[in-house]
Every structure is written in structure tokens, then in C-alpha cells.
């Protein structure tokens, strides 16, 4: 176990090099977010049908986007998938095949340190943003709900990681994985709830989405926090999230085992 603490430590030091990059990333990402919130306000302002859209008030909609920003900062995979693909392509994984270290655990440690540094650098712009929107920032309904939210956020982070990891392992078979990563990212962006809350979609579409892994990559923990899922629905959701988490962990292990057999150690 001790060796993985060293990995986290080294990961943190390596990532610190990119702190300015992270800072700008966090800053610039807030601008379109702010624009989306203004856009929704104009929508709410021009409506004659009533002050709520599918149960969202202006305040509810604003806090939805604020929470999306926070959960995204905590769990998003920013660079790990590119690095894993590059490691495979350039033959850097040779060393891991020879040493008593598990590549998946190694990358998970790096992902963790990456998120720690990202959150530290993003805390100032995000805190300023939350402060600016504080009137709309709601508290979770109860401490119990908040605890479930935390659990779900951790699951989200792991799910994000395992999906990206599995996708990056495609590099064993194809030379250029970036297009695949971008295609999946686009689907996640809309089906994960990044662009708008999924529960304003038509009901039948929501039912279908519920069984895909995408809502559990972002939307689900946010809706727990906002108290929009509760009771049996919440537990089914957590069950489905766990299912996808385990499933993609399985895919990751399987793809690694198959990939290693296919691997030709270029450049090693």
C-alpha cells in the first residue's frame, strides 16, 4: 500500500506544474456557465405559462448549474485518458509490466492527486462564483441526504475514471483514440446533464436515459443534493450507479488483460 502513497505524492508534485493551466481552465469554464444561467433567466422572464419549468424555479435552475460546476470539478477526468493512451502508444507501460505495481491502481492514484490539485486551484474562482450566486445557493434537505450525495459523488468520480480508462485502453488496438474520446465526451455532455437538467426532457426519454451510465456521471448526485430524487427512486438510482461502476471496472480489467496480449511494446 505504501508505494501507492508515494504515487499520490509524486502525482501531486507533477500536477502542481500545471496549476496556472488549471486556474485558467476553471476561470474560462465559468464564463459560458454564467451565460447559460443568464439565458435561462431570459427564458423564465419571458414565460407566461408560470414561474416554474418542470419544478425548477429560476433559483432552482441556477443552483443546478452551480452544483454541476462543483461536482464536475471534483470528478471530471481532464487529462488522464490522453496520458494513458500516450503511455500505451509510446511504450511507457513496459516498466509497469516489469515492476510489482498495478497500472490501474497507479492511474487511479494519479487521477486522485490530479483532482486534489484541480480543486485547490479552482477553489478561488468557483468560490467567487458561488458567492456571486449565493442567493440561489440552496442547502441540501437534510444531513442524511448530504451524506448520500457525498457517497454518490465518490461513485461518480470512480465511474468517470473507469469509463475513461476503458476508453483509453483502445490505444492497444487503434493508433488514434482522441476521436473516440471526443465522441463519448459529447454524449456525456448532453446525456450526463451538463448542458441542462435531464428532468426537463420528455418523460419517455428520461426513462431510457435512466438505464444508461450517463446520468450517473453527473446528473444523479446533483439531483440527490437538490432533493429531486428521494425514497425508493434514490435507492434504485444508487443501485444502478453501483451497477455501472462495477460493470466498467470489469470492462477495464478485461480490456487490460486482452490488450496486454495484443501489445507489441513499441519503443521499449
Amino acid at each position: 500500500m505504501k508505494k501507492y502513497f508515494h504515487v499520490i505524492n509524486i502525482g501531486i508534485q507533477n500536477t502542481l506544474v500545471y496549476r496556472v493551466n488549471f486556474f485558467f481552465r476553471a476561470m474560462f469554464a465559468l464564463i459560458p456557465l454564467l451565460a447559460t444561467i443568464y439565458l435561462w433567466r431570459a427564458v423564465f422572464g419571458g414565460r407566461t405559462a408560470g414561474p416554474e419549468i418542470e419544478g425548477y424555479t429560476v433559483a432552482g435552475m441556477t443552483s443546478y448549474y452551480v452544483l454541476v460546476t462543483i461536482v464536475d470539478a471534483l470528478t471530471a477526468v481532464t487529462d488522464d485518458d490522453w496520458q494513458i493512451a500516450a503511455d500505451i502508444r509510446d511504450g511507457n507501460i513496459n516498466q509497469f509490466l516489469l515492476k510489482p505495481i498495478d497500472y490501474l491502481t497507479y492511474r487511479l492514484c494519479l487521477f486522485f492527486s490530479n483532482r486534489v490539485i484541480y480543486c485547490v486551484t479552482a477553489v478561488v474562482p468557483v468560490a467567487l462564483f458561488v458567492f456571486f450566486m449565493r442567493r440561489y445557493f440552496v442547502m441540501p434537505p437534510s444531513a442524511g441526504v448530504f451524506a448520500l450525495f457525498i457517497v454518490s459523488v465518490i461513485f461518480t468520480g470512480l465511474l468517470q475514471f473507469f469509463i475513461s480508462y476503458s476508453l483509453a485502453l483502445l490505444a492497444f488496438w487503434v493508433l488514434e483514440v482522441s476521436t473516440f474520446i471526443f465522441i463519448v465526451f459529447a454524449v456525456e455532455y448532453i446525456a450526463g446533464g451538463h448542458l441542462f437538467p435531464l428532468d426537463i426532457l420528455p418523460g419517455s426519454l428520461q426513462e431510457v436515459l435512466k438505464f444508461t451510465p450517463f446520468p450517473y456521471q453527473l446528473f444523479f448526485p446533483v439531483s440527490i443534493y437538490l432533493g429531486r430524487v428521494s425514497g425508493a427512486e434514490l435507492w434504485t438510482g444508487l443501485g444502478l450507479q453501483t451497477f455501472w461502476l462495477v460493470a466498467f471496472y470489469g470492462v477495464a480489467l478485461w480490456a487490460w488483460r486482452r490488450g496486454i496480449r495484443h501489445y507489441s511494446a513499441v519503443g521499449g
Partner: protein, 280 residues
């Protein structure tokens, strides 16, 4: 003795002025086509990626308009026209400039800029136009298709003058994106790694496709007069949809285009003086 003529193409060394640059640019185009055709599958996949993102933006608009008839003064098909125009501008920018500008910081870091400074052409020309991304032109085509469809729903019959005006303004907007992004990329002369900044600018494209009337106060002022994101796609669209509040808006876009271009040229020259080369 007479030197035998090898090819009919004019020799860049003998022609002068803008014709010389056109000849060079034609050669760069040819290189880019050859390179792209070497990776046909990849080329097609990238077109798919861009199409998907475009569809996603349109999907967002469709979802919003399920719950309202208007965003401020903008109707659904007007916003779709706007998203189309914004995508057209973004893709033209991607086709001509994006790859080149994102490579600038890498060229500075590795010292490859040395070679470019040594070529007997304007360095800014070379770093701006070296590669053409053909996929961008394909995607620009799809956005024109969406605009035509939206235009039909709006019952638009633009006159020749409107179309010329629209095209000219689109070019001016591409120039604005190019100038701002080059200026941002030029900061790599100081920071070495400017990818974060360049990537960040890419975020601002998201603003360009939103209807300007939804914004007020400082936000609108800043993104109109400082970074004219709320002008670049909005003004050309308004010309087509006859939504202009005053001809002043056209003048403002042209003026901002001129200011951005001059400012980026001055900043580029200032930044280039900082260049110390990387190795040796």
C-alpha cells in the same frame, strides 16, 4: 544558356507582393490536402465529432424552446439561424487558423520558431497559414445547410445585398476570432505553456451562439466592447433575419474587427521581441 522551365506554376522567388504569397499559400494548401488524405478514416471521424457537437447545440435549443416561445426577442428558428451562423464562423476559423495557432506555443517551446523566422516570408503569415484543416470546410457546409433550413421556416428571402453583407461580416468575425486567439497564443513567449489559455478561448465560442438580447449590464457590455463575442455571430444573423435595431451595429462589428486586428499585430510584434529561442 536558357534554363529549362520545369513547371507552369510561377516560381515564388520571382513573383513579388501579394501574388507571391498567394503562390505560397496554394502550395501550403496542396501539402495539407496530401497530409489529410493520408489519414482518411481519422478525417471522417473528426467530421463526425464536429457534427455531433453541432447537433448537441441544436438539441439544447430544441429543449429550451419546449418550455418557452421566446428568449427575449428571439424566436426558435431565429436562434437556430444564429447557432448555424456561429458554427459557420467557428468552422471557417478552425479550417484556416486553429491548428496553426495552437501549434505556436509548441513551436516556441521547442525552438522550431527559429526556422520560421529564417524563411524569407512574413513570419506571421507563416505561423497563421501553414496548415489547412479541410474538415472545417465540410462542417461549415453542414452549418449552411442548417441555416437554409431555418431560413425557410422563417420565410426569409434575403436580397443579394443582404447575402453580400452577411458574407462580409462573417469574414470580419473570423478575423476577430483569429486576432484575439493569436494575441492569446502570443503570451506563450512569456509563459511557455499557453495551451490552457488557448483552450479557454475555445470556451468563449459558446457565448457567440447565444442571442444577445438575453444579456444585460456589465456582462453584455464586456462581451460587446471588450471581447466582442456577442457581436460576431449575432450581427450577421440579424442582417439576414432583418432584426437589426440600427445600422450602427454593423459599424460596431467592423470597427471591433479593425481594432482587434491592429491590436493583435502590435502585440505580436511586441511579443516576438521577447523570443530567445529554446536550445543551442
Amino acid at each position: 544558356m536558357k534554363v529549362p522551365q520545369i513547371s507552369n506554376a510561377p516560381n515564388p522567388a520571382t513573383v513579388t507582393g501579394w501574388r507571391r504569397y498567394l503562390t505560397i499559400y496554394a502550395a501550403l494548401w496542396k501539402n495539407s490536402i496530401v497530409r489529410e488524405m493520408g489519414f482518411k478514416a481519422n478525417f471522417l471521424l473528426w467530421v463526425v465529432v464536429e457534427l455531433l457537437w453541432f447537433a448537441l447545440q441544436l438539441g439544447f435549443i430544441a429543449v429550451i424552446y419546449q418550455h418557452t416561445d421566446r428568449i427575449a426577442t428571439w424566436s426558435k428558428w431565429e436562434v437556430i439561424l444564429l447557432v448555424g451562423a456561429s458554427h459557420l464562423i467557428q468552422q471557417l476559423f478552425t479550417a484556416i487558423f486553429l491548428t496553426n495557432i495552437t501549434q505556436l506555443s509548441e513551436n516556441i517551446r521547442t525552438g522550431k520558431l527559429d526556422f520560421m523566422l529564417l524563411f524569407p516570408v512574413n513570419t506571421r503569415f507563416l505561423i497563421s497559414f501553414r496548415q489547412v484543416d479541410l474538415g472545417g470546410f465540410v462542417n461549415a457546409g453542414t452549418s449552411i445547410f442548417v441555416m437554409l433550413y431555418a431560413g425557410r421556416h422563417l420565410g426569409l428571402h434575403p436580397t443579394a445585398l443582404q447575402l453580400i453583407g452577411f458574407s462580409a461580416l462573417v469574414l470580419c468575425s473570423v478575423l476577430i476570432h483569429y486576432s484575439l486567439m493569436l494575441a492569446l497564443a502570443s503570451t506563450s513567449f512569456w509563459t511557455v505553456r499557453a495551451q490552457g489559455i488557448v483552450w479557454g478561448y475555445y470556451n468563449l465560442f459558446n457565448l457567440a451562439r447565444m442571442p444577445d438580447a438575453a444579456f444585460h449590464g456589465f456582462f453584455r457590455g464586456f462581451f460587446t466592447f471588450a471581447i466582442p463575442m456577442l457581436l460576431v455571430a449575432n450581427v450577421p444573423t440579424k442582417v439576414l433575419a432583418r432584426k437589426l435595431e440600427s445600422p450602427f451595429e454593423i459599424g460596431l462589428l467592423l470597427l471591433m474587427g479593425a481594432i482587434c486586428f491592429v491590436a493583435s499585430e502590435l502585440f505580436w510584434r511586441f511579443a516576438l521581441r521577447r523570443y530567445t529561442s529554446a536550445s543551442s
